[in-house]
């Protein structure tokens, strides 16, 4: 299995399918997730939430709740200092804390059903529930607005009277629900359309969908009398949680120690704070540990889904199939506060393609819904769904095979990306070729069955990362990383460390350190944790190797250029090689004290050079023309992983992303009543795919090495959710002849479309 890569490192483990080091704990129930941790004397915290989608909070009377025996603390807006409206850096992210403080606890107004209004800490769940009922909140109910297009109207109910559209000149005189206008322009899009032989223009609509992690948000805080704060929570970034809580509660960052529990899924939704500052505020008041866990209903109503959107796309191509112009206008729901992922949506819309003339405009629009949070490739699935649908339509119009059309226009190394700069090596063509070579591509189809293909792009990011390697007395290695491990990170990092140091994989024990144990780490997001973490581990290993070589020189009386580290040993070179016996890491461990003390390395980097990952998905489905029900028959994913450290977990990312995309395309949606209340805040009616809804998902690993990473790694986690929406819409068109432009393509919508065309017969 051993092979040698360009960096000269012998690779025994990278590229193999090892057993994950945290695996046994997870199959035996021993692993501790957010809600699995308890402290002596802990109280139970519960949140009172607004029943109204939009209401002014006239008063909050907590006296009766506070008087209830067993209630130890009650908090409201009064327990949080207001924050000014400015975007300031918070652990690598730009946050407007005026909004953050209002989202964790409503101030002047409740802006969505489920918005936190007060919280209690009590000695039991039952008492906490009773206490919530004793809090008297007087509301002045205001008109609400849910839909993005309606929210943009001048006469729409206004959420924030100080919100003026940014990104337009001159600055608007009236506030509105449009927080921001963004655009990118490349070339001259009007001139491009002049050259087009065929132009397709369509409007699309997508529903907001939730990340749907199975583990609800959970936090346990303990604040001592001197203000030292400990927090245990389920998060994608405990350093980010620390930064937010410090700011919201006026604490020094160094006073807060956050430990990330095992995390039961995040997909972007656990990058922000909800319960964490409340638990700390309650604990600070009660002087006892406070544990808070959201119910599933709270997760749906009060944590962030991703945007629903309205998207208009217009594309032009020559009759030979060359794309000459692409225009798009994206209107994304932000929820109650600004900050939808419209910016990346704008940048990704045409990113898989080499097009000279592109103009994409985006609007970030607030409405009376929960504030959106990141969800896997934030913004990209929506805009690329629209573009991939139009690409498919152009292929039909020009009678060109849809893969050939994509191939002809594919972005390649050196292509000026639709968002500006030139691209490095990317695997768009490779994934198209891989799909075309599958048996799936040529398998026969029957009536009412259809096949669709679509591609997808996501940037991936690097960012600040700290990780350490410590060689223990017996030569085993302790690895500490600072980004929560959601899908197998510890396995990947241990494999890299084992290969770098030449020690057996099972002698490397990886853990995720708390915020007091390592320098700053940006969160697990942007498909960065394996990419950046492995770079930090390579750096830490380099320090160890350098140190061991230096110690060897002293032990052997040799010069630095007379020793080298290779294959897990320090060896003398040339004539000296015959005189001294090579020393392994374990050998050095035995004499660590005598040779200078503990051996370790500490990688502290701002990882750059994340390469985009391109993917192409192929799907077969069948439509029941009498009921509109859609069955996914066959599914293949091909994606560029750069280099797969652990192929199984990379495949798992592809498969999981594809199935999330299937849910988004077919059945998942936030359904609101006319009263502005969410009607399906549970797993029964928020219909995520179950095991019997999907087939096996074939995963093809394409590896176009990322030259900026020592092992060629690219981020892989997000791209897989981008192509499914378009691929499924394109397959629906193939099966029915109908171009579906509205997600989800749920049975009532599909049957209605079939019926309108008289097609609802077997």
């Amino acid at each position: 299995m051993a092979e040698t890569m360009a960096n000269g490192q012998s690779q025994t483990y990278v590229g193999t399918r090892t057993i994950r080091p945290d695996g046994v704990d997870k199959v035996t129930g021993r692993a501790r997730f957010g809600a699995d941790f308890n402290l002596p004397g802990q109280l139970i915290g519960r949140v009172l939430r607004s029943p109204h989608p939009h209401a002014r909070i006239l008063s909050i009377d907590t006296a009766k709740a506070e008087a209830l025996p067993g209630v130890k603390a009650v908090i409201t807006r009064d327990d949080f200092a207001d924050q000014s409206s400015e975007f300031i850096p918070a652990g690598e992210m730009m946050m407007n804390y005026k909004d953050v403080v209002r989202n964790v606890m409503a101030r002047e107004k409740a802006l969505y059903e489920g918005h936190a209004v007060a919280a209690v800490a009590a000695t039991s769940v039952a008492i906490a529930r009773r206490a919530l009922k004793l809090i008297d909140v007087k509301y002045e109910v205001l008109p609400h607005v849910i839909d993005v297009v309606e929210a943009m109207r001048p006469d729409a109910p206004l959420l924030h009277d100080d919100l003026f559209t940014a990104g337009v000149e001159p600055k608007p005189e009236q506030p509105s629900n449009i927080a921001k206008r963004v655009e990118i322009v490349l070339g001259d899009v009007e001139a491009g359309f002049q050259k087009a032989d065929v132009i397709v223009e369509r409007e699309f609509k997508t529903a907001p969908v939730h990340q749907g992690y199975i583990e609800p948000h959970a936090a346990l805080a303990s604040v001592s009398e001197d203000g030292a704060t400990e927090l245990w929570c389920s998060t994608q970034g405990h350093f980010i949680v620390r930064a937010h809580c410090a700011r919201l509660l006026g604490l020094d960052i160094g006073r807060i120690r956050v430990t990330a529990s095992e995390i039961g899924g995040g997909f972007g939704g656990k990058t922000v704070v909800y319960l964490e500052p409340l638990a700390i505020a309650l604990s600070r008041k009660a002087k006892r540990p406070v544990k808070m866990v959201m119910s599933r209903e709270e997760v749906f109503k009060a944590s962030g889904p991703t945007s629903g959107a309205t998207v208009r796309v217009k594309m032009g191509a020559t009759k030979e199939g060359k794309f000459v112009a692409g225009f798009a206008e994206l209107k994304y729901q932000a929820g109650a506060f600004q900050g939808s992922p419209v910016q990346p949506g704008v940048m990704c819309a045409y990113a898989p393609y080499d097009i000279e003339n592109v103009k994409v405009i985006g609007y970030d629009v607030v409405s009376n819904r929960p504030k959106v949070a990141a969800y896997r490739a934030p913004g990209a699935p929506i805009s690329e769904f629209a573009v991939e649908s139009v690409v498919d339509e152009i292929a039909k119009k020009l009678d060109i095979d849809p893969i050939d059309l994509r191939m002809q226009n594919a972005a390649r190394e050196g292509t000026k990306a639709a968002y500006g700069p030139k691209l490095g090596p990317i695997g768009m063509e490779e994934t198209l070729n891989a799909i075309k070579k599958t048996e799936h591509w040529n398998a026969p189809l029957r009536k009412w069955q259809g096949r669709g293909v679509a591609s997808g792009f996501w940037f991936n990011i690097g960012g600040e990362t700290s990780a350490s390697l410590t060689v223990n007395e017996d030569g085993t290695v302790s690895l500490m990383a600072g980004t929560p491990d959601i899908g197998g990170l510890r396995a990947s990092l241990a494999m890299v460390a084992a290969d770098e140091l030449g020690v057996p994989y099972d002698k490397v024990r990886p853990i995720i350190g708390d915020t007091g144990s390592l320098g700053f780490n940006f969160l697990t997001g942007g498909s960065r944790s394996a990419f950046s973490g492995s770079m930090a581990i390579v750096e830490a290993a380099k320090q160890i190797k350098t140190e061991l070589c230096a110690r060897a020189c002293k032990l052997w009386d040799l010069k630095p250029d007379q020793v080298e580290f290779a294959g897990g040993q320090v060896k003398a070179l040339g004539a000296a090689a015959e005189k001294v016996k090579p020393m392994s890491i374990a050998d050095f461990a035995k004499v660590a004290g005598k040779t200078g003390g503990p051996i370790g390395g500490y990688g502290r980097i701002n990882a750059q050079g994340a390469g985009p990952s391109l993917g192409t998905h192929l799907v077969d489905l069948e439509v029941d023309p009498e009921t509109g029900r859609v069955t996914i028959l066959k599914y293949t994913v091909a994606q560029d992983a750069g280099r797969a450290i652990h192929p199984s977990y990379v495949e798992g990312q592809f498969q999981g992303g594809a199935v999330q995309g299937i849910g988004w395309a077919l059945n998942e949606e936030y359904i609101y009543g006319a009263d502005g209340k969410l009607q399906n805040a549970g797993f029964l009616d928020y219909r995520m795919p179950v095991a019997s809804d999907v087939p096996m998902i074939d995963a093809i690993l394409v590896e176009v090495a990322n030259p900026k990473h020592p092992y060629g790694v690219r981020g892989v986690g997000e791209t897989p959710i981008v192509p499914p929406l378009g691929a499924i819409a394109n397959a629906m068109e193939a099966a029915t002849g109908i171009r579906f432009t509205e997600l989800p393509m749920s049975p009532p919508k599909v049957l209605k479309a079939l019926k309108e065309r008289g097609l609802n017969k077997v």
């Binding site: 501790r32 699995d36 495949e651």
Partner: protein, 158 residues
Amino acid sequence: MAKHHIETTVNGDEIEFLCETEETLLDVLRDTLHLTGSKEGCASGDCGACSVMLDGRLVCSCLVLGCEVGGRRVETIEGMAKGEKLHPLQQRFLEHAALQCGICTPGFLVASKALLERTPDPTEHEIRYWLAGNLCRCTGYDKIVSAVMDAAVTMRKG
């Protein structure tokens, strides 16, 4: 009113506990008995993360009251491995990378074990429908189904 005093068997051990009427078996397992391997994903029987066996029947422990289990036999994920030896399903889940975040894994394992005990040679279709009450958001189910099929082969060989 006074709490119920319940005597029951959990993973073969005779256990006594006190509970309020409204406490579910899941509450009792997690909060009173500190068996936190059973997870609460929804508290409404829609995700399967709290799956346990009750008198040999697969149930959601969030849909059973604690006071119902007096004199009965409860089996949870914590009882699945025997000593140092993992159950073949646990072993295959690890080998097939059938878990990512791992929150749904205990529920899937308990449910899969119940399946293989009554259907030693299930088809992919049978596995998918049997496990339809267990939600997984990470894996897309592919590797879970493969792991169960592979474990079935191992278990048939004894």
